[in-house]
Symmetry: C2
Subunit: 236 residues, 2 copies
């Protein structure tokens, strides 16, 4: 390969990596906006979040076509191929994160009330903060090609699961206390589940970053908090 | 291209199509088994369903690697490339269907009781039957390269959504009638949602079959039943 060719190839990979970064940033914004809309009952922000999701779909298609072009023209092997396959999967996960955040925004519109219980609001916010931190950390690990950081993100997912489990119980208790809470809490159950699943996608991304960098798969079951015997690991 | 080359290429595509068919069959079995486990409280069947899902993950990886090899060695264009891209996406959707069915099986284990209400059982079974029919129809459309059948599957998804909406309401009513139903119904809400989402994946597959065959995208919003202003279209 001439130096010219190598440089062009690097540019192609950099272009894809840039789009992954853009998707990551958009996904983070979408989570923040849709949860803010939920907490403040801001219908306008909810509608704006829903509209933003289309850009993630576009970027996914763009990354897929770029990867196909690179594979067809370069026939990459080994580390190069791993990198391309990993970016494709990461793009897929980020698109799913966008969908899940969008669904929280749709619930804001469907619910005719905000989050009235202080305890529930604190629990939800805590889970969202942790999930956001996980997504940010794994995107950093991707940018820095840091396998160890990726492994740590995967390990920390059990914390998100633990908060989800306790939130699930709190929501059921709140429903039992007063039947008038049931409809709202049913929607909040789905919102909480969506955020927990965003955490699962951060874990998927972590596994792909680890594989991309090391060529090894993190195959052992990661630790799952399963205190209830019910909620832990339900989406794995 | 020599005739020999064309034949080898066809064989490669046929091998991928065969694996899609295998994934489709497995996904259908997983849905049947996990819902049967739910209806009959059959924990053993639930555990078996959960174990089956691993094969879907393997097949997805296998299809991805085959597609990458085809793209790298053949540099397909136009219809050929569309076909390969579409099979990759269909494989992804089928893997997600397996995950969703697996999660229903996991709920069977998490719930300490079966579906006690006759009305709820009938509603759930009706939704599952329709979703299964949708999945079967779209896999037939894929095998027969039939764009019109695919378009019809997409159109019929509103029926699944309508049953889901009414089931969602029934579950809430059942919760309000007696707080002792709340925990069980919360799990059933997620089961119903998972089945509704399997319907959405059948719709995604339909869109990819249509694109694969015609080269056109079904871009117009498909009709969504949204009677509650709440549940219709929440996962789109």
């Amino acid at each position: 390969m001439t130096e010219h060719t190598v440089t062009a190839y690097d540019q192609e990979l950099t272009a894809v990596a840039g789009r992954i970064a853009e998707m990551g940033g958009l996904a983070e914004t979408l989570i923040t906006d849709s949860v803010t809309a939920l907490m403040t009952q801001d219908l306008e922000l909810a509608h704006r979040s829903i509209a933003q999701d289309a850009r993630l779909d576009e970027l996914l298609l763009d990354i897929e076509m770029r990867n196909v072009n690179i594979i067809a023209r370069r026939q990459p092997m080994g580390q190069d191929l791993r990198e391309i396959m990993a970016t494709g999967r990461i793009a897929n996960d980020l698109e799913r994160v966008g969908d899940l955040a969008k669904n929280v925004a749709k619930r804001v519109i469907a619910m005719d009330s905000g989050v009235k219980s202080k305890t529930l609001a604190i629990g939800l916010e805590h889970m969202v903060e942790l999930t956001q931190a996980q997504l940010k950390a794994v995107l950093d690990a991707y940018t820095r090609r840091n396998a160890e950081e990726a492994r740590l993100v995967r390990e920390r997912d059990s914390e998100v699961d633990a908060i989800y489990t306790s939130l699930f119980r709190e929501l059921l208790t709140y429903m039992m206390e007063d039947p008038r809470h049931i409809t709202q809490c049913a929607h909040l159950l789905f919102c909480a589940k969506n955020i927990e699943r965003i955490g699962d996608h951060a874990t998927n991304i972590a596994e792909n970053v680890y594989y991309m960098v090391t060529g090894d798969r993190l195959t052992d079951e990661r630790p799952k908090v399963d205190e209830t015997g019910a909620e832990g690991g339900l989406d794995r």
